[in-house]
């Protein structure tokens, strides 16, 4: 396995008037191809900043991001990014939102419709193709966003607390769907969360971030797959990991 995404000395400052806020400092991390990395951290530790940098949306103040051994200079269509907030176009129905990445790529409309219909079916939104985002519930919008990201068929998925705002049941379903997808497609996933259980349920490897992106713990998770949330909870290995991660998070807070 080779490093697909690699950051070295990554620093991001946001300047406001004469003061710069440092969101991330000297952050170095390598992500292997095909791995599922959960990035765990409390809010405000630079997780979203990190993903924006990995996605090529913002430029680092210092350091660089390398994707496939090339410096990343802007958004790359091979990298899909599911942001924390919904960015569906409110004037487009579900189907036309899902078609959008293909539209920009110049895929013919018949093909677009076919791909979109398949994805909409897959995320369980069949029957709502022509609903506008405002007519959908938060969970349904999330599914539509997921479908839109998958329409571009990205090899790398960046996800920023994608299921944070959903109810527990729905979160569980979408987590399982994501794992199924990953198992089939072999994508590389960077999944940001503040939920220890979610990190352990999904990740091969958990990176715990402290303030301004200091790595508190970087640990492989060797729990057997497929993992079920209910079975995990009583697994001694899981409990041990959970304790370890919780301690690391507490450590960072001090």
């Amino acid at each position: 396995m080779t490093a697909l995404l690699h950051t070295s000395g990554l620093t991001k400052r946001f300047a406001k008037d004469d003061v710069a806020t440092v969101a991330l400092r000297d952050f170095t991390l390598s992500i292997e191809e095909g791995s599922f990395v959960a990035v765990l951290g409390r809010s405000g530790c630079g997780k979203s900043t990190l993903l924006n940098l990995l996605a090529g949306l913002t430029e680092p103040s210092e350091g660089e991001v390398r994707y496939k051994d090339r410096p990343l200079s802007g958004p790359d269509t091979e990298i899909g990014y599911l942001t924390q907030s919904d960015t569906l176009m409110p004037w487009r129905g579900v189907q036309r939102n899902v078609e959008m990445p293909l539209e920009i790529r110049g895929v013919p409309s018949a093909e677009r419709r076919r791909v979109a219909a398949g994805l909409i079916e897959r995320v369980g939104l069949a029957g709502f193709e022509h609903h506008y985002p405002r007519e959908l519930s938060g969970g349904m919008r999330r599914r539509a966003s997921l479908a839109r990201m998958l329409a571009a068929d990205p090899a790398t998925l960046l996800m920023d607390e994608p299921f944070g705002a959903l109810d527990a049941q729905l979160r569980r379903e979408l987590q399982e769907e994501l794992l199924r997808l990953w198992a089939e497609g072999g994508q590389t996933v960077v999944f940001v969360t503040h939920d220890i259980e979610e990190a352990l349920l999904l990740g091969d490897r958990v990176v715990v971030l402290g303030p301004i992106g200091t790595i508190l713990l970087d640990r492989a998770v060797e729990l057997p797959r497929p993992r079920s949330a209910d079975a995990l909870r009583v697994d001694p290995a899981f409990v041990a990991l959970h304790t370890e991660l919780a301690a690391a998070l507490r450590e960072g807070a001090r």
Partner: protein, 282 residues
Amino acid sequence: MSTTDDLLTPAGRQEGPVRVALPRTWWQRHGSTTTVWSLRLALLVLLLGFWQLAADRWIDITFISKPSDIAERLGEWAADGTLWLHTWITVQEIVYGFALGAVTGALAGFVLASLSLVYRVLDPFVMALYSIPKVALAPLFIVWFGIEMHMKVLLAAATVFFLVFLNTAAGVRDVDRGLVDAVRLMGGNRWHIARKVVLPASMTGVLTGLKVAIPYALIGAVIGELVASNRGLGYLINDAAAQFDTAGVFATLVVLSVIAAVLNVVVGLLGKRVNRWKPIDE
């Protein structure tokens, strides 16, 4: 649990909202609209009746005329063609002025607001020009363009331009960064962002501008006619007032209101088409 017969969603999908056909009677569908319209009509009849009654009984007819005289005057003018001639002139001025102002305003707003630095530089100048009462421009426009139709068209356009420009620019500048980033992530270039995000997102602003500007197109055209002209509804008002023909003045005002109402309906229809994605009414 309801039976699956009345569910419009495909069978087996139980999560998320379920859509159910809602049988409604004619009155439930149209009841409130009917009530509102009947009340509007009743109010109009009441006002006209009171006016008719008050005229010459309590208030001198020279000042307020009366509905029956006004109707009579409209009938006369319609018969001898005066009405159509002048209305047609004014309508042309409004439409050309509105179209000219709206197109240039929307284009300028779209382009300038996308160029952040240019917009910042120009902003105070635009605001200064916008704040000039357009009536004050009329004498200058007469010098520049004469007293023919061009002058009224341009005066109407000048008013419309600023309203559409400012609203469009506000719409463009308010575009959600998240949506722009979403398109960048899909590999979209500047052109994609402009066409697929900024343009639809700014439509609300453009439409607000158009809606607000409509009465001003009318005002611009009529003021131009009032200042200097020999045709058009503004001229008709001037002419009637000069002869103390109050009925004539009111008759012209009626025509102007009808024109304004028709224009509002047109923009309303446009707004419905573009803003379908706004939250639906209960």
